[in-house]
């Protein structure tokens, strides 16, 4: 029986158990003189019985599927020759996968011994499959009869069903914790290994970033320079540009829409602006790289801009094709709706009664906004901005596409910089061994990024939460 | 014809509380009315048994009075009556006192009846007593009816009749004093009749008081200490 077929059988069996047990509870009820004499509603008896069947069967099924490969593998080992068995773990693994590929017919190896073994495996598999089917079906039938006979009016069916329900929910909710743990684990070990190669202070305070220098892994002392400062400054620069665009625009947009605009204007403008939020970052990246960057370059060149810095003319402006400005601007535009909708929420959460209060005292509209609503919403807005900053810092695609990889330590928005996320992708795309400093550097960067954004989020979420509580 | 509607509250309990109050009040009215009739009959027929009967009901009247007062207070405390309801409660609270006083006066008459019954011959003034008694009983009855019906015209009539009764009383009194002068030996007996007459007159006043409360109840007008003409005038002014 194929797995899906077996699954279907299980489903039908469980459904039947549900139906019959429910019917039985109904008939028990009518003997007693009405459903009210049962402990629980009939449907609970049905569900309870169904769970009694389904959970053990699924457990058997699951365990079987998890362990049968290992068991079959153990069984296979006995057919191997002595010397094959004494192979190193890696080589044994290789051998087994060769055999495995023979069973699926995707290998053309013509070793008769291996073919025989693969035949054994096929046999084992079919036996295992059959055994599984029989076990599952038998236990299904057995359990459902047991459930049927065990059914009594005073069974606490409802309580049992509810306990199962709640366990399921609890299980699901722990996933978030596992995810965080997973994230931490996935970056922390590699990072530790990285910091064993590259001292942590060099990583944090070094101003040279050139991981590409490591040409050969065994080349002592040439594992590149891993000073992350230029990455941080680059990230900061781009985020700052983005925030300069997004915060004033987003905030004023939110204010105008929630306080001034008529409901019709709001109903048109708001969704249009929210389109900006829905556009994938890869599109923004594309746009930044292919449209905005050339525009800036050409535009500034065209103007023949001559910037005097501290009275010293530094000549016609050099505009990089991968300027931080382009990425920052586009990122800013991307974040506008993020800021505006978060601020909008916050502004709308300010109770109408405060507005009434202010108007009732004779405030003009802008006074109401500036003196009452804005201060009231300020914590929430600060939280929103922090979240936006964290988002800008973590943003990947735009910078990957529109920003170069040259790690320059500069605050000139017209130059090319690089960011943490760009370097992470650059280092990790393609083949990678998990032991070169280059690859590990990406994880170290990931760790730093995670810590920074985590800190920002933590602060921001707490501010927002405090603010919410104020009006709850 | 003026009518109040005490029975249209959303709260049935309130309706029935007010209803009970009014019924109890009118019942008490009925009892004291009977007391008057009996007392006058006892004195004019020299019927001590009847007089005793009147005296026996005193306790009931007292209890009912206290009960009515309690009811009024409870309604005020529990219902916070306003407008017509409040006026009803206040009017009944006041008029209950009058009814009780009427009962007391009837008792006094009954006591006089017993006091008089010792002597064989009829003292003077029995006919006056009987007349006045009838009239007084009439206006008590009228005032209660007016109360039951919220009828201010009738109430006005009661007030007017009370003035007549006062005149009648004055005449009777003058006559009795003449008798007494004529026959000083009978003075103490005549005094009893005088007290009885006096009680009847007071009963008339109380009936008149009850009628005044009807004005308050129906119109919200406080017409106490006014002449009947003034009352009529005020009512008409408001009707306009």
């Amino acid at each position: 029986m194929s797995m899906s077929m077996l699954f279907l059988v299980m489903l039908v069996g469980v459904a039947a158990t549900f139906y019959f047990c429910r019917q039985r509870s109904l008939s028990l009820a009518s003997e007693l003189g009405g459903i009210r004499h049962l402990h629980s509603l009939p449907v609970f008896y049905g569900v309870q019985a169904a769970l009694w069947c389904a959970i053990p069967c699924l457990l058997i099924f699951g365990l079987w599927v998890v362990f049968d490969d290992a068991i079959i593998r153990e069984l296979t080992l006995q057919y191997l020759t002595e010397e094959q068995r004494s192979l190193s773990a890696n080589e044994l693994q290789l051998l087994l996968s060769t055999i495995e590929s023979i069973t699926t017919g995707s290998s053309t190896v013509n070793d008769p011994q291996l073919i025989a073994i693969s035949q054994h495996i096929v046999d084992f598999r079919s036996v295992s499959n059959l055994a599984l089917s029989i076990t599952v079906v038998c236990s299904l039938v057995g359990l459902s009869f047991w459930a049927w006979f065990k059914l009594k009016p005073e069974n606490k069916a409802r309580s049992n069903v509810e306990r199962c329900f709640m366990l399921f929910l609890l299980l699901c909710s722990t996933l978030a914790i596992f995810t965080t743990v997973g994230i931490v684990f996935s970056v922390i070990f590699e990072s530790i290994r990285f910091f064993q190669i590259v001292p942590i202070q060099e990583f944090i305070f070094g101003t040279q970033w050139s991981p590409q220098l490591s040409i050969r892994a065994d080349q002592v002392g040439s594992s590149g320079a891993f000073g992350a400062v230029p990455l941080f400054t680059g990230t900061l620069l781009i985020s700052a540009i983005a925030m300069l665009v997004a915060v004033p625009t987003g905030l004023m947009t939110a204010i105008y829409l929630s306080e001034y605009a008529s409901s019709r204007v709001r109903s048109v403008v708001k969704p249009i602006l929210e389109i900006l939020a829905g556009i994938p970052t890869v599109v923004y990246g594309f746009f930044a790289a292919l449209t905005i960057a050339p525009m800036i370059k050409n535009g500034l060149h065209g103007l023949g801009l001559d910037i005097a810095f501290l009275g010293v003319s530094i000549g016609p402006l050099e505009v990089s094709g991968e300027s931080a400005l382009a990425a920052g601007l586009v990122m800013g535009v991307m974040i506008i709706p993020f800021v505006s909708s978060l601020s909008d929420d916050v502004i709308n959460a300010v109770p109408q009664s405060l507005r009434d209060g202010a108007y009732g005292l004779g405030s003009t509209q802008s006074e109401t906004i500036k003196k009452v609503i804005f201060p009231a919403a300020l914590p929430g807005i600060v939280g929103a901005i922090l979240l936006a900053v964290s988002r800008a810092i973590g943003e990947t695609m735009i910078v990957v596409m529109a920003v170069g990889t040259a790690a320059k330590l500069t605050f000139n928005p017209l130059e090319s910089v690089t960011t943490v996320t760009v370097q992470m992708t650059t280092l990790l795309i393609g083949d990678h061994e998990f032991d070169s400093a280059k690859t590990l550097a990406a994880f170290a960067l990931g760790l730093v990024l995670f810590i920074i954004t985590l800190g920002l989020n933590f602060i921001a979420l707490n501010i927002v939460k405090k603010y919410r509580e104020q009006y709850d | 014809m003026d009518k109040l509607n005490i029975d249209q509250h959303i709260s049935q309990q309130y309706n029935s509380a007010l209803d009970d109050l009014k019924t109890e009040f009118l019942e008490l009215g009925g009892i004291v009315e009977q007391q008057i009739v009996n007392a006058v009959k006892a004195i004019t027929d020299v019927d001590t048994v009847l007089a005793q009967e009147v005296l026996m009901t005193e306790k009931e009247v007292d209890e009912r009075e206290m009960q009515l007062d309690d009811l009024c207070t409870q309604i005020i405390a529990r219902r916070q009556p306003t407008a017509s309801d409040l006026r009803l409660v206040m009017a009944i609270s006041k008029s209950t006192r009058d009814l009780e006083r009427i009962g007391d006066e009837a008792n006094k008459i009954a006591k006089m009846a017993i006091a008089i019954s010792d002597s064989e011959d009829l003292p003077h003034g029995f006919s006056e007593l009987r007349n006045l008694g009838r009239h007084v009983q009439e206006i008590v009855n009228d005032s209660l009816t007016a109360f039951a019906r919220y009828d201010i015209d009738m109430a006005l009539k009661v007030v007017n009749k009370d003035k007549e009764i006062d005149r009648e009383y004055a005449t009777a009194m003058r006559e009795l004093i003449t008798y007494m002068m004529e026959d000083p030996r009978n003075i103490s007996r005549s005094m009893n009749v005088i007290w009885a007459l006096r009680s009847l007159e007071r009963i008339g006043d109380h009936a008149s008081n009850i009628s005044e409360q009807i004005f308050y109840l129906v119109k919200g007008l406080d017409v106490r200490h006014q002449t009947p003409d003034e009352m009529a005038q005020q009512v008409n002014k408001q009707r306009k």
Binding site: M166, G182, Y256, G278 | -
Partner: protein, 429 residues
């Protein structure tokens, strides 16, 4: 008595003009901001549409092709292997030589370079797959794909600087213009773009593989994130006691929602690929990663919609003797479902557009085959866009724009769906 009052009013009136000017200024700032936002939307869209629309069309040259069985090396038309292995390029080349009427090797080479021989070959292969018997050994007119350079040149004919012109020799240019004038070289709708998987040659590259990859990704994501997300939301809102443990879960979820997506990529890379050894580049792993990424979104929006169910309803149900599960299933879920669905759709839309984590787990690989299941190597739409963007070949940039349009289309559809679901399902009692 009225003296101080009059004074008040006078004071009020004194500053009134200033206050109203401030009011006007403030309003103006707001309008400017909105104007800027709208302008951005407008610019972005005209720009992308302007760039992308041309990607849906392509130039084809009509040539007659001799479906010669021997040249094709097909002896048995019912043998699929033969048909798949057929040498279509040869017949196409021959057709091209015939069309341009060339014989010298240099001319042949020049002529051949004007066409996408392999691309056209695939078109022929498709036709053979359907009815090889009919067309074998016949001569028929075929719309052959031109080379992407030709397409590039023709699409930009009017532009200053004549981009792409320098790629061609005089002769080739003559041929091209002659063919255009004769009507044999035409701009036609590029079906191949929708039917093909990725390819190294831009004229053959299509988004079918990416679309299917995205589809499987979303399937996995939906199947996992919707039930888990809702269950978590219910647990946290309805069941969880207020203690450190639930606080921890809550903080976790909120933080995860704001963790940069690339970090999830690292997670996928280190846990699913390196630790569990799942195959690279599969929608299954991608789906896992995207599930973890979208879960917070779904949980948060589900929690919000559960929270929006008035507590009074819950109290009422409890007061009647409903158990917790009944309260949840009978009252809370039905009322919160529209919000949950909307949240899920929005989360999926985000997942559809997401690229950074997929980059990390190798879904940016070059995979020409169209995936047929969740465990086939696949790429996804945003990944495809990214790859084409990075490809130096001029034709790919246009493809990327077109793919962006397709992606945006899907997103718009999904968001519309979300709005519709919210409107439709929200029972306004």
């Amino acid at each position: 008595m009225t003296k101080p009052e009059i004074k008040t009013i006078d004071k009020v009136n004194r500053t009134l003009g200033k206050r109203y000017r401030a009011e006007k200024r403030f309003r103006l700032y707001g309008m400017l901001s909105i104007g800027f936002g709208l302008l951005c939307v407008l610019f972005l869209f005209t720009n992308i549409i302007g760039k992308g629309l041309s990607g849906f069309t392509y130039h084809y040259l009509q040539i007659s092709v001799e479906m010669d069985a021997t040249t094709l090396e097909i002896s048995d038309t019912s043998d699929l292997n033969q048909i798949l292995a057929g040498n279509y390029s040869a017949v196409v080349k021959r057709g091209a030589y015939e069309y341009f009427d060339v014989s010298s090797r240099r001319d042949k080479s020049a002529a051949r370079k004007l066409l996408s021989v392999d691309g056209t070959g695939y078109l022929l292969q498709d036709r053979f797959k359907v009815d090889a018997k009919e067309i074998i050994n016949t001569k028929s007119m075929v719309w052959a794909l031109v080379d992407d350079k030709v397409d590039f040149y023709l699409k930009r004919l009017g532009e200053p600087g004549e981009p792409g012109k320098h790629e061609f020799s005089e002769k080739q240019l003559q041929w091209i213009h002659a063919a255009v004038e004769s009507g044999d070289l035409q701009k036609r709708f590029n079906w191949a773009f929708f039917n093909n998987g990725d390819s190294a040659h831009s004229e053959e590259a299509g988004i079918r593989g990416a679309v299917m990859g995205s589809f499987y990704l979303l399937l996995v994501t939906l199947a996992l994130s919707f039930p888990i997300g809702i269950a978590t939301a219910i647990y946290l809102e309805e069941y969880a006691p207020k203690n450190k443990w639930t606080d921890l879960i809550e903080v976790n979820i909120n933080n995860l929602a704001a963790v940069p997506s690339i970090i999830f990529g690292l997670l996928g890379l280190a846990i699913f690929l390196a630790f569990f050894g799942f195959p690279r580049s599969t929608p299954l792993v991608g789906g896992f990663v995207l599930t973890l990424m979208t879960l917070p979104t779904i949980i948060i929006s589900s929690r919000a919609s559960i929270k929006a169910v008035p507590p009074s309803i819950r109290e009422a149900a409890y007061g009647l003797g409903s158990s917790k599960m009944q309260v949840t299933l009978h009252h809370v879920l039905p009322l919160a479902m529209p919000g949950m669905l909307t949240g899920t759709i929005i989360g999926l839309a985000q997942a559809l557009g997401e690229s950074a984590p997929l980059l990390m787990i190798g879904m940016a690989a070059f995979i020409p085959e169209v995936p047929t299941g969740v465990s086939d190597p696949a790429t996804a739409l945003p990944m495809q866009i990214f790859q084409w963007f990075r490809n130096a070949d001029a034709g790919f940039s246009e493809k990327a724009s077109a793919a962006i349009l397709v992606l945006l289309m899907f997103l718009i559809v999904m968001n519309t769906l979300a709005v519709w679901a919210r409107r439709r399902l929200e029972r306004r009692w």
